[in-house]
């Protein structure tokens, strides 16, 4: 079944590890929605959050192929477990009239994102939300402010929820 999958990947924090992982996806034609990487509390370990859309069989292969890479320390499937995940995104809205600006602030309020910078005709939104919610916001702003928005997305990071049982 095609669906969205999540992987938490711990790899050696070495030069080339990111290239190895990214190359695996392109070389084997696995679709990759997003990949984020950064060092962890242990600076010799880099942690990646990977999201992809695939069927079950391909996803099994992805996990196995990641596992067999020497650089990979651990592969954890986050797909069907409780996790927290957020993506940082900035959206700049340009050439705003006064009316537009009011609209931007209203949208920011509804979407619960911050206006973190502001000029006579420009507003900058900082959005820390689930990927899907960021998608929705882009679609909305694109409709309201055609060809006037600039987007940068950081990709999702995810962590397992605290288990209370």
């Amino acid at each position: 079944m095609m669906k969205k999958r999540w992987i938490c990947l711990l790899v050696e924090n070495d030069i080339g590890a990111l290239a190895r992982i990214a190359g695996l996806f392109s070389g084997k034609s696995y679709n990759l929605d997003s990949l984020t990487a950064g060092p962890t509390e242990d600076e010799t370990v880099s942690r990646m959050t990977i999201s992809l859309t695939s069927d079950d069989k391909t996803f099994e292969q992805v996990k196995k192929q990641l596992n067999r890479s020497v650089e990979v320390i651990k592969v954890i499937d986050y797909t069907d477990i409780a996790i927290h995940r957020k993506e940082l995104m900035y959206i700049k809205v340009n050439n705003c009239s006064n009316k537009d600006m009011t609209e931007v602030f209203r949208i920011a309020q509804v979407y619960e994102v911050k206006v973190i910078d502001y000029g006579p005709a420009t507003a900058l939104l900082e959005c820390v939300q689930a990927e899907q919610r960021n998608d929705d916001l882009i679609r909305l702003l694109q409709k309201c402010f055609v060809n006037r928005i600039e987007v940068v997305r950081g990709g999702s990071v995810a962590i397992e929820a605290v288990n209370m049982s």
């Binding site: 790899v11 050696e12 070495d14 030069i15 080339g16 290239a19 190895r20 190359g23 695996l24 070389g27 069989k57 099994e60 292969q61 196995k64 192929q65 596992n67 067999r68 890479s69 020497v70 650089e71 990979v72 320390i73 651990k74």
Partner: protein, 577 residues
């Protein structure tokens, strides 16, 4: 004591018991070669091209079970390894390839002979790394050998910048290394073994399908015992050939698009398919939807990623083939499947693989090799020569077949034979090549001569790139596009009719052999085959090329046409509509 990186490199090779190093010098490797100068414990072999160098190391590794070691310079030296690295890695051959590199301060500057060889080889090797710090040199080399030889063996590339080679540092070499992300599996899941045995015990029509994994794990004796204990017929892939002796009564033949009718029929009709060490490559399965469609499938492989990738497996067992077979030997018992065995024997008898032409046929040549050589390593190139060899070659305990199965690399056979001879000086080495593949590494005649390697090099010369020509004949209306090696510019451009008036072949392989100081024999009649092979075998001074002038349009048969299922074979040439 403080020693240079180059001195540590030599020390590390000795600690790893490397006795043969395949090496070609250059500017960014000169310090390493300097450290090797006069070294008594390591014989340094200088082939004539880096591609042949890595194939030779591959042949050495496959035939000895040791790690093959290469040393080349940066830039073109490194890039010339690429095909050989992919070839070895695809067939799970343990190699460690050291490449010189420009100094760390120059990396990224587009310096002379700088390439990112780690980046280039990342997707075709098991592990690749640039040493960036003299302190970590010893650990990196130790890791390289450990990774190459354990688990599913493969190729490790170690890139050594010039300043690291020159810099002084500790002379210590670690006894062992720990890699947290790399833990080769050494145990066997006994629960899964039990499940497999239970399934076997209920089977009416079981078969073993054995891939290269059994040969790599050196589990041939155990495999033979398991077949004998259970009475289950054994089918092999090309890479698995020799898993049990080919003259064993339980041996059926090769599976695949040029496999035997009996083997392919047994796979199509079996109820339990017990496969060990194969990845169900498209060349063995034919149309995948109809592959073993009636069977429950058990699959043992060291690489979990090979399981349930191409076909769905019912009982997966991730384990080393030898460990798993030993576990099976403790639990398995004889099966009452006489009727099934008789059925397979009947298929074998009624549809043997055979060539119906008269004269100097590849079948006769390979069968003569079977008779003349009994303690030998046989290597093949790629194409028809390889397929005929894998069809007709008999392999027992003292014979080994080396062939590029996964990547299918033309130019492999001859240099691999050189490596095999260096690793097995007491054995005969027979190379079976085509006239096309032989010319891809012909320069190694010099290597074979200067290192005094008597070996038998059989060139099956049909003046064509025969395997592609066969496809053009069968599926492209005889449009022989770019496959004739007797073509001259003055020929008619679209020719599909080889004849007596074709231009003479170039080169003249007999004269070529002589020009290298080797022996050359041309064979044109079947009655000359055995004499030529014996002469080559008894020539203990120099290599012998035997050029067999075979029928130009001989085909490899039987054949499963592309897209067909295994049960849908063309048995003889001319059976196509």
């Amino acid at each position: 004591m403080q020693i240079t990186g180059a001195q540590l490199f030599v020390k590390a090779l000795k600690e790893e018991q490397v006795d043969t190093l395949f090496a070609y010098p250059g500017g960014q490797a000169i310090d390493l070669f300097n450290a090797l100068y006069g070294e008594k414990d390591i014989e340094v072999i200088l082939p004539r091209h880096e591609q042949a160098l890595v194939h030779a190391a591959d042949g050495y590794a496959r035939s000895t079970g040791k790690v093959g070691v290469c040393l080349v310079t940066s830039g073109p030296g490194a890039t010339n390894l690429v095909t050989g690295i992919a070839t070895a890695n695809y067939d799970s051959v343990p190699l460690v390839c050291f490449t010189g590199q420009v100094a760390t301060s120059l990396i990224g500057n587009d310096a002379f002979q700088e390439v990112d060889i780690v980046g280039i080889t990342r997707s075709i090797c098991k592990y690749a790394v640039t040493v960036r710090n003299r302190d970590e040199l010893a650990t990196v080399i130790k890791k390289a050998f450990y990774i190459a030889r354990t688990g599913k063996p493969g190729v490790v590339v170690v890139d050594l910048p010039k300043d690291i080679q020159q810099q002084k540092g500790s002379d210590e070499y670690p006894e062992q290394v720990e890699i947290r992300g790399y833990k080769p599996k050494t145990s066997v899941h006994i629960g899964q073994i039990k499940k497999a045995v239970d399934l076997l015990n209920k089977a009416k029509k079981p078969v073993f399908l054995i891939g290269g994994g059994v040969n790599i794990a050196h589990a041939n004796q155990e495999m033979t015992k398991l077949a004998e204990l259970t009475g289950i017929p054994v089918i092999t892939t090309i890479m698995g050939k020799g898993a049990i002796p080919t003259d064993h009564e339980l041996y059926v033949g090769n599976i695949g698009i040029h496999g035997s009718f009996a083997a392919n029929s047994a796979i199509s009709n079996c109820d339990v398919l017990f496969s060990i060490g194969t990845r169900f490559n498209d060349r063995i399965t034919g149309k995948i939807e109809e592959f073993a469609s009636n069977a429950t499938i058990i699959h043992i492989d060291i690489d979990s990623a090979s399981i349930s990738r191409n076909i769905a497996v019912d009982i997966p067992i991730v384990a080393d083939a030898k460990n798993a077979i030993e576990a099976l030997l403790k639990k398995a018992s004889p099966l009452k499947i006489d009727g099934w065995r008789e059925q397979i024997i009947e298929w074998k008898k009624n549809y043997p693989i055979t060539m119906h032409q008269d004269g100097l046929t590849p079948q006769r040549i390979i069968q003569s090799i079977n008779q003349v050589f009994d303690d030998a390593v046989i290597t093949t190139d790629v194409g028809q020569n390889q397929l005929w060899t894998t069809q007709y070659l008999e392999i027992g305990e003292n014979k080994q077949l080396l062939t590029s199965g996964g990547l299918g690399t033309m130019g492999y056979g001859f240099p691999a034979g050189i490596g095999a001879k260096l690793g097995n000086p007491e054995k005969d080495v027979v190379v079976v090549s085509g006239d096309g593949g032989m010319q891809m590494n012909i320069q190694e005649m010099a290597t074979a001569v200067v290192y005094e390697l008597p070996m038998t090099i059989c060139i099956l010369n049909n003046g064509y790139l025969g395997n592609v020509r066969q496809w053009q004949e069968m599926f492209f209306d005889k449009r022989y596009s770019c496959t004739c090696l007797r073509y001259r510019r003055s020929c008619e451009s679209a020719c599909s009719t080889p004849g007596a008036e074709c231009p003479v072949y170039t080169p003249d392989f007999v004269k070529l052999a002589e020009s290298y100081g080797a022996k050359g024999i041309r064979v044109t009649k079947p009655e000359e085959i055995e004499g030529a092979l014996l002469e080559a075998k008894n020539n203990k001074k120099v290599p012998t090329i035997i050029e067999f002038i075979i029928e130009r349009e001989a085909n490899v048969m039987p054949m499963v046409p592309p897209g067909n299922s295994l049960s849908d074979m063309i048995l003889e040439s001319g059976d196509t509509e």
